[in-house]
């Protein structure tokens, strides 16, 4: 079986791996790069647990071949915290009990991070709509919406504190 060498920038770091073309990005992240925070919940694009940022945009890593990410930047849940400090979205999930088993959480965090970049003050309806492509079987979503609101408030505070 022919393999290909690909180069990815994962969470800011250059990584080079040799992969079979059929390998999904999610599997390469998890099994080759040791980044097991990206979860596989359905492998057909519905649950959203595998969502990562590709060049800053949320995509399903179960529906992307790793070779397709060659030369691109990937951000996973492991890349959200900065200098050991939880990002506002991560902190929001902790504060508002936006996770129970935590399996769906990485996908929600990635999607919510993108949402707040695009729309820093979303309504609850907008949050629910943006997260409709992520399934959570534990929380019933309410605390996840609270968590994203928490993060939005935090980000607003941080921005107003900046000169």
């Amino acid at each position: 079986m022919t393999t290909r060498q690909i180069r990815l920038t994962v969470n800011g770091q250059e990584r080079t791996v040799e992969v079979e073309p059929r390998w999904l990005l999610a599997d390469v992240l998890r099994e080759r790069l040791g980044l097991t925070g990206t979860h596989l919940g359905c492998e057909h694009g519905v649950c959203g647990a595998c969502t990562v940022l590709l060049d800053g945009r949320p995509v399903r890593s179960c529906l992307l071949l790793a070779v397709q990410a060659d030369g691109h930047a990937v951000t996973t849940v492991e890349g959200l915290a900065q200098d050991g400090a939880l990002s506002p979205v991560q902190e929001g999930f902790r504060q508002e009990h936006g996770l129970q088993c935590g399996f769906c959480t990485p996908g929600f965090l990635i999607t919510a991070t993108y949402l707040l970049e695009q729309n820093p003050q979303p309504t609850r309806e907008e949050i629910r709509e943006a997260l409709s492509g992520n399934l959570c079987r534990c929380t019933g979503y309410q605390n996840i919406v609270n968590a994203v609101e928490w993060a939005a408030r935090k980000l607003a505070e941080q921005n107003s504190a900046k000169p």
Binding site: W23, H39, C42, H44, T76, V77, Q90, R94, H97, Q142
Partner: protein, 801 residues
Amino acid sequence: MKRFRGSVDKPGLWPRKGGRLSGRGACRFATQVEYIGQRRTRVEDARLVQGQGRYVSDVAWPGQLVMAVVRSTHAHARIRAIDGSEALRSRGVFGVYTARDLGGLNRPMPMGIVDTSFEPALQTPLAADKVRYVGEPVAVVLAEDRYLAEDAVEKVRVDYEPLEPVIDLDEAAADRVLIHEARGSNVLGGFEHTVGAGEAALATADLVVEEVLRIGRVSGQPMEPRGVVARYDAEQGVLEVYLGTQSAHGAKGHLVAMLGLPPEKVRVIAPDVGGGFGVKMGAYPEDILAAYLALTLGRPVKWAGDRLEEFLATNQEREALHRVKLGVQRDGRIVALVDRFLQDCGAYTPMGSLIAHTTAINLAGAYRVPNLYVSYQLVATNKVPVGPYRGAGRPQGHFVIERMLDRAADRLGLSRIEIRRRNLIPPEAMPYDTGLVLRTGDPIAYDTGNFPEGFESLVAALEPRLEERRRAAGRQGRWVGLGVANYVEISAAGGFEGAIVEARPDGTFLVFTGAAAQGQGHRTTLAQVVAERLGVPFESVTVVEGDTALIARGVGTFSSRTMVMAGNAASQAATAMRQELLAAAAKELEVAVEDLEWEAGRIRVRGVPASALTVGEVVQRLLQSQERVRTEAYFSAKGATYGFGSHGVIVEVDPATGGVSLRDYVMVHDGGQVINPLLADGQIIGAAVQGIGTALYEEIRYDPQGQPLNTTYLDYLLPGSAEMPEFELIHQRYAATNNPEGFKGLGEAGIIPSMAVVLSAVEDALAAGGVPAFFAATPVTPEAIFAAMNQGGVSHEAASV
């Protein structure tokens, strides 16, 4: 017995700890720190939100082989031959194994619970000569990775002789086609129970309503599929198994039984588990097979199940057919309830008659039912085996009584709220013996609570909003309705759980328990209990769960039992630890224990501030003469805990499309002494959404050939964020009386009435639009609403007055 007033507050808020609850025989002494009842964020989360959780599929050992399963494509067939030769030649393949290769291992797997009420039909790890459901394991492949393993699975040729399948419950019960020939019948067991005069009492009722209620088959669908990684440590002679399970100790028991190993040579670790909801319990073929192959081959074996397998090969639930009669007086009071039901078992009975039995003992709900007759038959069909899914019979039992009350109210011209008022068990009647009995033989006697108070607070919260919603929606041509339902959560019946508290020389504590969490946050809540009972900072307590090597005995997390069992065990072990440390300090400081004060991690002599030791120092002294400072407690609550609650929901129906929107969803809940309201509310809301799924979206469908029709998330619809309502919670707190801490189970509360209440609300909305309807089956899809609109709501009712 002391009673506490329920309190109404804003969603998510909790009454401050003010009046502490005390159950019967409260055995506590004052400590300065109060953690029980405190809203605390979880210690689990920092790891999980950074992607540092470790789930089974994240475990990887050098040299590991990946297992994939060849599954039956037939619902009912004889296996003529299996040819794995082409698969064996496939790239990266290590081996292909069929029943024949397993020898003595391939015998019936143990049942996941103790149930001697009938002779079970148990699955073998691999089907040997017959398959009984689509998805049943027929062979396994080991390969270098999952891709290669799946390549090989496609190449295994199985020659089937198809047999006629039986899918429908009534048909199966008729025994025209037998699934387990040797049993002579598809009816594998049965049960009946009578309270009061039973069915005979119907003769004295003014009205008898009769219905056939059908509850759809659903799938638990935790976001993490099942998985297992096994490896044999030849040096230690220990088989180590990482398993996504709700019961590490239960799984260990199954492995010991199947593999014939001494218990001390098997270690089961439940790492982070991505949701359980009842389905990650019992003995599954893949667990046994991976462990067996790892043991015999001496190489680690991993099986990470995928979503398709979660649909094809993980226990499902709910499906049952109830033939019910409810007799009432003209004023709405219940005279008698009669329910004969067929419980679908699927092809095997891995978890015994648990669900049917639990359904039966939940039939009275929160009401006085002076006469009751229930019988059930356990019926095999050619479908995925049935095992518990959150609620495990509680939602079904309540569905029956609540649906029937709605029906009776409509027939009597009484409001659905009023009929409930007239039947709720009043506080004066507590303790109230329902006449039903637990499996343990203990009577089901509701101990505490004020049901009418809870129900009225629900009605008060919702009724005023109904008109407002009707006015607003009416302008858009939408119909609005209100549904209400009550429940009693019978939980934590039977078994025990243990906790070990170990003191460390730095003054911190470890707590070990067998009851691992799958998202419930035990590392936080049990630490709250232990920290409070010890009188030490929360941060100094670390809970370690889910490893059979660290605590020898344990049961697991299901049936909302952990806080009652492990919570009290932890409380007792912590109390014992405190006493032990105080005694040691007294000896060291040469005073009596009564002269000591414990404050902020220091033990000092009252009035002599200089004479003091830190907790760590006391532990260090003890360690000079003993290996460990440990206390251990095992707790088993007598009977069960009984948590009351009410749900009410206002829905909006679009009569043109049959679309349903949930507007206001209010839940009243009595959780007894709650350890952490933030987490408790999370459990309740999460469960309610699962119940809404069963009511409106979810159903596993089979075609007449037994082929499952919806095995993807595009076809099997889980509730999504955009459709779910915002929930409001109203809390009551009536401490349980069967355990010193007054804890009650609450993990299943939210799911119990949610099916019934949603159906009721949709009907009410249709009635408001002039369409009388009665939904006798779940789920209520837009299609079902469309059908009701067309038929003018006629149902198969045969009533007599």
